[in-house]
């Protein structure tokens, strides 16, 4: 077995320096549509027609994004002659409930329970990567726990399928308070393209109360880590609100 030890030592440290310093390697995040400078109304409307989920909305003379609906189809970027700006980055986690973060007691250690409520596999794959050498959440004091009884955070992906309703409710109930629910990916936030139907809900928020949202289809591992840091109160949510509307503003901490 010594050859494996040697191999591990030879490989060296691969882990990102985030959140100590930003991760700048190419390909860690697909980015997302950015704010467009004021443009003509006609152009705004033509861009909006391209958006299949209504993530692009016109406000006054510019376009606003509802990232909770964006599914990374790249239609606003690749189809028009004048594409929408694209913003790099991955700090996408946002607090959406009045409960705020978990507070000081939990800032150095979180135990996370993962439930798949109908995810396509991409979100789950990205969640899997947060424990891989490149991202390694253990260094942050975050651990994936096999039982809801010791979990502080419930990480849910998928639109909330009908058949997963009961298991999801049971997991949430089994967790001790204080607890927070982190919804990962566009499907978990709004139902994504599966939307509300006989088989799925419009997001897991219809089944359990969501506290932190991570938009993206799928959100890259760093975005999920950012959301966990936000939940633990170690990072601030992004400054610019990702979508217009005031009803959610109260809960922002």
């Amino acid at each position: 077995m010594t050859k494996w030890v040697w191999k591990g030592l030879q490989t060296g440290i691969k882990t990102t320096a985030y959140p100590g310093s930003p991760e700048t390697a190419a390909g860690v995040s697909p980015g997302r549509p950015g704010w467009k400078d004021p443009v003509e109304r006609k152009k705004i409307m033509s861009l909006m027609d391209l958006c299949p989920t209504g993530a692009l909305r016109p406000t006054e003379e510019r376009i606003s994004m509802d990232y909770r609906r964006c599914i990374h189809c790249f239609r606003c970027r690749r189809f028009p002659a004048e594409p929408l700006d694209w913003e790099p980055g991955y700090e996408w986690g946002e607090i959406v409930s009045n409960q705020g973060n978990l507070g000081k007691t939990f800032s150095n250690s979180l135990h996370i329970r993962i439930v798949d409520a109908g995810a396509c596999g991409a979100c789950l794959s990205e969640i899997g990567h947060i424990t891989s050498p490149y991202y390694n959440i253990h260094r942050l004091g975050f651990f994936i726990t096999p039982t809801p009884r010791t979990a502080d955070v419930l990480l849910v992906a998928g639109p909330g399928t009908d058949h997963m309703r009961l298991p999801l409710e049971k997991v949430f109930e089994a967790m001790p308070a204080p607890k927070r629910v982190v919804a990962v990916g566009t499907c978990a936030l709004t139902g994504g393209i599966f939307g509300k139907s006989f088989a799925t809900r419009a997001g897991v928020g219809e089944i359990v109360p969501v506290d932190v949202e991570v938009p993206g289809c799928p959100p890259p591992p760093l975005a999920i880590i950012h959301a966990l840091l936000v939940t633990a109160g170690r990072k601030k949510p992004p400054d610019a609100p990702s979508y217009p509307g005031t009803e959610r503003e109260e809960g922002r901490s």
């Binding site: 494996w4 591990g8 798949d116 109908g118 596999g121 991409a122 979100c123």
Partner: protein, 534 residues
């Protein structure tokens, strides 16, 4: 493409052979362009014709497409054969009032789950099928609710009935000390939701009874009435880890309905990207296998490679999982020749590291002990269950759609080898994954070295019609059947995936092995529940 003469003659003679066997009862029409034969027969002859194709002519069962038409049910049994044997569609029509049809799964076990699925979702009865009832829809759905019927309103949430408190799964094993061990649907890590009932007498798993469709999102139903552009998003996103393969199958089906000519460059790039996805899928599967045996350093090594491929994909193609690339008519993005070369160069680097990893695993006895002669699937069983992809090839069943039904840019000018093993155990499956990853890098290199020039998309206006699209997805043969109506609306969308087929045969491997082998056997199958449940 040079087709074997004997096979093609056999295909052309289908009409005569069928006429001599069932005089005046089986109507055959041949579509030479698509190499597809359409056989129309009555329900009485269905079993005979299916058995003839499967056992005598060596065709594989692909899928059963049921369509509710204005006055009748249409049952379309799709079979495919070796190179030159083309496809055969058996079409049976039945008046709408008649909801019973003979089952073919008594003969062809591969159709078992598909008939169960259709019984549950359409409310049709397959006469002679031994095990019908709750399958896709669990017990809290009232009987008589059939979501795939056209009259069903898919937009509203359906009220449930209270499940009976006394309800419990049926047990098969009856012996002193026998018990049933439930696993899932929520696991201790990031595994997908699925439930297994393992019947046991202590150590060995005697019966594995899967309970799936926790992730059923009604894909086929919610696609109905949507535009091609919208359904493309569904095809791409119902199984994110093989998104490119599924969007490709859907695009090929749409392109097939109008017989559109796709630019050569787009076809070549599609092959390039499909192989890149296969490489990532297989590396992820290898990571999973190392993880299931708790070999920490090997898991890290494999997952470093996986993340490298993800970053490479994102850097050049915008998205880590190849979303948003396929569009009906080509690709949404052109790659420069240099980009392709860059990606395939990086592929060689991945290959070198994979080979080193394989070399180390080969001499790690604690690892091999968990895989060798564990989770065996015999060749006979693999054929009878119609298993596909790396799982089937590890049991010696070679039927790769890239070879037997070439599509896109696959064909004589791309040289590759379809890896296969005979043992059918976990280690054979691992070896197939390693060799296929190597072949994928080899194919990417060949394509990037001979990339045709020209545009990557053509304008395409969907017209009414229907067509089958197929790809060899990373997990195996995948079929998308699309019927388009006026204004490019999808009327019927049928998706048959490799995971659905291979989960059906999973119990073969898991039974008669110990509990602690179960997660390892599962990892060597490398299946997706999102792809199975749809």
């Amino acid at each position: 493409m040079a087709l074997p003469l004997d096979k093609i003659m056999k295909w052309k003679n289908l009409a005569q052979t069928a006429a001599s066997r069932w005089p005046g009862r089986v109507e055959v029409s041949l579509d030479e362009n698509r190499l597809t034969a359409h056989l129309r027969c009555s329900p009485d002859d269905l079993q005979g014709v299916c058995g003839w194709l499967f056992f005598e002519l060596d065709y594989s069962f692909a899928t059963l497409v049921v369509e509710e038409e204005t006055a009748s049910w249409s049952f379309r049994y799709i079979f495919y054969g070796d190179l030159g044997s083309g496809q055969v569609h058996i079409i049976v029509r039945h008046p709408l009032s008649e909801t019973t049809i003979p089952c073919i799964s008594r003969l062809i076990h591969a159709a078992d789950w598909q008939e169960r699925e259709i019984e549950d979702l359409f409310g049709l009865h397959f006469e002679g099928h031994p095990r019908l009832g709750d399958f896709v829809l669990h017990e809290e759905w009232p009987e008589g609710v059939n979501p795939m019927r056209t009259s069903f309103d898919s937009t509203r949430v359906y009220p449930h009935r209270e499940s009976e408190p006394a309800w419990g799964p049926q047990t098969i094993v009856e012996a002193a000390g026998a018990f049933m061990m439930p696993i899932g649907p929520v696991y201790s890590d990031h595994a997908e939701s699925a439930h297994f009932l393992l019947e046991t007498l202590g150590e060995d798993v005697l019966r594995t009874i899967p309970r799936f469709f926790y992730k059923y999102r009604g894909l086929e139903k919610i696609a109905e009435g949507k535009s091609v552009d919208q359904v493309l998003l569904l095809a791409e996103r119902f199984s994110g880890t093989s998104a490119f393969a599924h969007s490709l199958a859907f695009c090929q089906a749409v392109e097939g309905t109008i017989g559109a000519e796709i630019p050569k460059r787009a076809q070549a790039l599609r092959v390039f990207l499909a192989e890149l996805e296969r490489l990532r899928h297989h590396v992820a599967a290898i990571t999973g296998i190392c993880q299931s045996t708790a070999l920490a350093v090997a898991t890290s090594q494999a997952s470093i490679l996986e993340e490298k491929i993800l970053r490479l994909t994102c850097r050049y193609l915008g998205h880590r999982y190849l979303f948003g690339l396929n569009i009906p008519g080509g690709l949404s993005l052109d790659l420069t020749d240099d980009t392709c070369k860059g990606i395939s160069e990086a592929g060689w680097d991945v290959l070198e590291k994979l080979k080193k990893l394989q070399g180390m695993l080969r001499f790690t006895s604690s690892f091999l002990d968990r895989l060798e002669e564990v989770g065996m699937v015999s060749k006979d069983k693999a054929v009878s269950y119609g298993l596909v992809g790396p799982v089937a090839r590890a049991s010696g069943v070679l039927r790769d759609l890239r070879v037997v039904q070439p599509y896109a840019y696959y064909g004589d000018h791309l040289k590759f080898y379809v890896p296969h093993e005979e043992e059918g155990d976990g280690y054979a499956r691992l070896r197939v994954l390693f060799s296929e990853a190597e072949q994928s890098i080899n194919l990417m290199h060949q394509v990037s070295a001979s990339l045709p020039a020209g545009p990557v998309k053509t304008r395409l206006d969907p017209a009414p019609g229907s067509c089958l699209g197929w790809v060899e997805s990373p997990g195996g043969a995948t079929f998308h059947w699309v019927r388009l109506g006026e204004a490019g609306r999808v009327l019927r969308y049928r998706v048959m995936t490799s995971s659905f087929v291979n989960w059906h045969g999973f119990h073969l491997a898991a039974e008669d092995f110990a509990f602690q082998d179960f997660p390892i056997i599962m990892a060597t199958f490398a299946l997706s529940n999102a792809e199975c449940d749809r």
